[in-house]
């Protein structure tokens, strides 16, 4: 979404500049929204007087237990309605009330029939930027820095997934609109179901895997999102809570929001604000599950019967809405229901806490530390260009921007637009050409292709392609990463819990994995892509663990627990945790940046 927003916006302002978009798949179905959406989750409704951007900032900061960049969140909030109205103009079906106003399913959420939200978004982007400027099926593996200044961007490098081609893009400015990371933690389903993670399996953490290695300052990489979702199919629950009025109960019929109410008082002031922050709602359910009170069921039956009463027409409508919620967005959940003969008006449905995800667009806030907008950002948060990272000329949007969560699809699209416009201003002010570092390009070229060569060189050493002492397949690398993260960084099998010694051991193991990833082997370019995906995911995993270790408190119970620091500590830790990796010394530097309250 952010890439298409950036492409669309950039061409309006950029005059004669050459703008290209590089995409690993095809823009009509790429990224997390390619599968479709059943709601726009970030809409202010300023024209209806529903919310102001100030309201949005207050909500987001509290949902993040006190930590978000208010300038960045406000910036998305004040612009996002224009993006939603444009999407509607381009053909997105948004549900309407009888008076023509948008329907609402929550304070910020409007329901849509969004199975085609991505092709609808991609079309004007493709038209605006021009077919000749779109490179698809190109896997960008690394960013390039300037020969004269490694703190300045010079381009990006990668290979053709479908063609035997090596791509070097020389650029004065680069905007990262790649995704956050699924499948860093071992998912609950580990065979075919590994593809049905909640967050898109196509989101391979490239936003971070590209930026971290060149020394981009990152923020809040310890943060994660653990969604509560319908079990296994990962169907969304928001519409059930907010629109149908359903409740989750444990096997004794208890509602944890009632029985666990006292827990909220432990996390003041955030826990006492309505709505309860997402991690604390998770925390309440988690305590039920840990106490052996599962399974947890969403009472779809009671909710639908209450809405429809004895009216068959009302029941027809609510069934159509309920199934549409999945079919527009998470089709596997519909298949899960049908396969188990679950009729939601008759049978309640299991919900679970999923495995952790590291992302910056949804309820996660990991990403790059970027400059805020000129008219909103205090001096500590401003260095010239909106959404520019600490690398000169490198911009980010969507999952790539940290401390700016709750953007979702519409906000990511908006942030791409904001970053693109800022990049045009940067280019006007900095017209000098970038200089490629030839040694860097040559070395990366060899590194990028190495897994193909390694397979050819060593395949004769074993009668089994999958068992060879000279290499790992990308899948084997992925499974190793997932096991380390799950067991040492607080995944599902560890009850989301970790501590200092466990993290230190996990970091030792992930350092060994990072060495072994130099011995990945690929049989073809498809597997070569998987090699670079697992390398990107491993950067995310390592960064996550180092941040988890640094923040000595439990700020987001329900997402993770530091057993050695079980409490939230605002006196010391209401600060952002930032990090920088130094490729020269192979060392990570971690430090804090202040949280600045701007909306009183």
């Amino acid at each position: 979404m952010s890439g298409c927003g950036a492409a669309f916006e950039s061409k309006y302002w950029s005059g004669d500049m050459k703008v290209v978009m590089v995409e690993k798949a095809v823009i009509e179905r790429s990224g997390a929204t390619g599968e479709g959406l059943s709601a726009i989750n970030c809409y202010m409704g300023q024209r209806y007087g529903w919310n102001t951007p100030e309201d949005f900032v207050k909500y987001v900061v509290n949902d993040m237990m006190g930590l978000a960049r208010e300038d960045l969140v406000y910036d998305v909030g004040r612009h996002v309605d224009s993006s939603v109205h444009l999407l509607e103009e381009w053909g997105l079906p948004i549900w309407k009330k009888d008076n023509g106003d948008y329907e609402r399913i929550g304070r910020w959420q409007i329901p849509i029939h969004g199975e085609a939200i991505k092709p609808i978004t991609a079309e004007p982007a493709r038209k605006a930027i021009g077919q000749e400027n779109i490179y698809e099926r190109v896997n960008i593996t690394h960013l390039l820095t300037d020969a004269n200044d490694p703190q300045c961007i010079a381009g990006a490098i990668g290979f053709g997934v479908r063609e035997n081609k090596f791509y070097v893009f020389k650029a004065k400015a680069v905007l990262i609109t790649c995704g956050g990371a699924s499948n860093v933690f071992r998912p609950r389903s580990i065979n075919e179901g590994m593809g049905r993670t909640w967050y898109s399996v196509f989101s391979t953490g490239s936003a971070y895997g590209l930026m971290i290695p060149i020394g981009t300052e990152m923020t809040q990489m310890e943060h994660r999102f653990v969604p509560t979702r319908f079990k296994d199919g990962y169907g969304p629950v928001g519409m059930w809570f907010q629109y149908f009025g359903a409740k989750i109960t444990n096997s004794k019929g208890e509602d944890y929001t009632v029985t666990r109410e006292a827990e909220l008082h432990k996390y003041k002031p955030y826990g006492l604000v309505v709505p309860t922050p997402t991690p604390l709602r998770n925390h309440q359910m988690f305590l039920d599950i840990k106490d052996g009170l599962g399974p947890m069921y969403m009472g779809t039956d009671k909710a639908m019967q209450k809405i429809a009463g004895d009216d068959p027409e009302k029941m027809r409508k609510v069934k159509e809405e309920a199934w549409g919620d999945f079919l527009d967005m998470t089709i596997s959940q519909a298949l899960t229901w049908a396969s188990q003969d679950i009729r939601p008006e008759v049978t309640p449905s299991e919900v679970v806490l999923a495995e952790p995800y590291i992302m910056g667009s949804h309820s996660g806030e990991s990403g790059a530390w970027v400059s805020g907008p000129e008219d909103l950002a205090p001096p500590d948060y401003f260095w010239g260009y909106n959404k520019m990272t600490t690398i000169k000329g490198l911009f980010a949007a969507g999952d790539g921007v940290g401390a700016a969560p709750h953007k979702f699809s519409s906000g990511s699209f908006t942030e791409g637009r904001l970053a693109a416009k800022a990049a045009v201003n940067f280019l006007n002010d900095n017209p000098e050409d970038s200089t490629l570092n030839d040694g860097q390009v040559t070395s990366l070229r060899d590194k990028i292709w190495a897994p193909l060569e390694r397979f050819e060189k060593y395949k004769g050493a074993s009668t089994a392609e999958e068992v060879n002492p000279h290499y790992l397949t990308p899948y084997q690398g992925l499974v190793r990463l997932q096991k380390i993260m799950d067991e040492y960084a607080g995944g599902t099998s560890a009850w989301y819990t970790t501590n200092k010694p466990t993290l230190e051991r996990g970091i030792q193991l992930i350092e060994l994995l990072r060495e072994d990833l130099n011995k990945l082997a690929a049989r073809d370019r498809h597997e070569l892509m998987r090699c670079w995906e697992v390398i990107h995911r491993t950067w995310v995993g390592e960064s996550h663990m180092r941040h988890l270790l640094y923040r000595e408190e439990t700020r987001w119970p329900g997402y993770y627990y530091r057993s050695d620091f079980p409490d939230l500590d605002d006196s010391k830790w209401r600060v952002f945790v930032n990090s920088r990796f130094d490729s020269e010394t192979n060392e990570w530097e971690l430090f804090t940046k202040p949280y600045i309250n701007l909306i009183k």
């Binding site: 916006e9 309006y12 302002w13 005059g15 798949a25 009509e28 179905r29 790429s30 990224g31 390619g34 599968e35 479709g36 300023q46 024209r47 102001t52 004040r78 612009h79 309605d81 224009s82 109205h85 444009l86 103009e89 053909g91 079906p93 029939h113 609808i120 099926r137 997934v161 389903s189 580990i190 065979n191 075919e192 179901g193 590994m194 593809g195 049905r196 898109s200 199919g233 199934w323 549409g324 079919l327 089709i331 596997s332 519909a334 049908a338 396969s339 188990q340 003969d341 000129e374 909103l376 908006t414 637009r417 416009k421 045009v424 201003n425 006007n428 498809h526 892509m529 701007l598 009183k600």
Partner: protein, 149 residues
Amino acid sequence: MPTFVDPNACNTCEGEEQGPLCVHICPNDLMKLKGDKGFNQEPNMCSECYACVKLCPTEAIHVRGYADFIPLGAEVQPHRVELGLTWTIRFRDGEEMEFTYPSRTKPAGSSIPYDGFTEDPIADLRGQTLAGESIWLGVDSLPTFASSV
């Protein structure tokens, strides 16, 4: 294996400019040709996003749900209709339901970038306003809290 191709129905998208459409569209580079038929080469990386299923001109692609947790026998299959999809849902016990939802309110290809936009690409470049916001923001002026900072 999440998506699978019925070999009797696959015609390799004969005549399609972009080649086999499942190969063209798959967001995760899973679909390829095996012999002269479509084939999902990596089922455990399939999100069951249905991008290929929705696009297949002969409805040759179906989904056999994840073996990890989906019992056999059910099917959820889309059929393209004007500006939308009709879904057939077959339960394991054989009951069938059908729902139709719109995908778009306007035909594909009908968008006009920057239609009626009034921002000046040079004079308004330094400001905070995005392209088209004079029409599409929905309120008279862009909010800012600069005065209270």
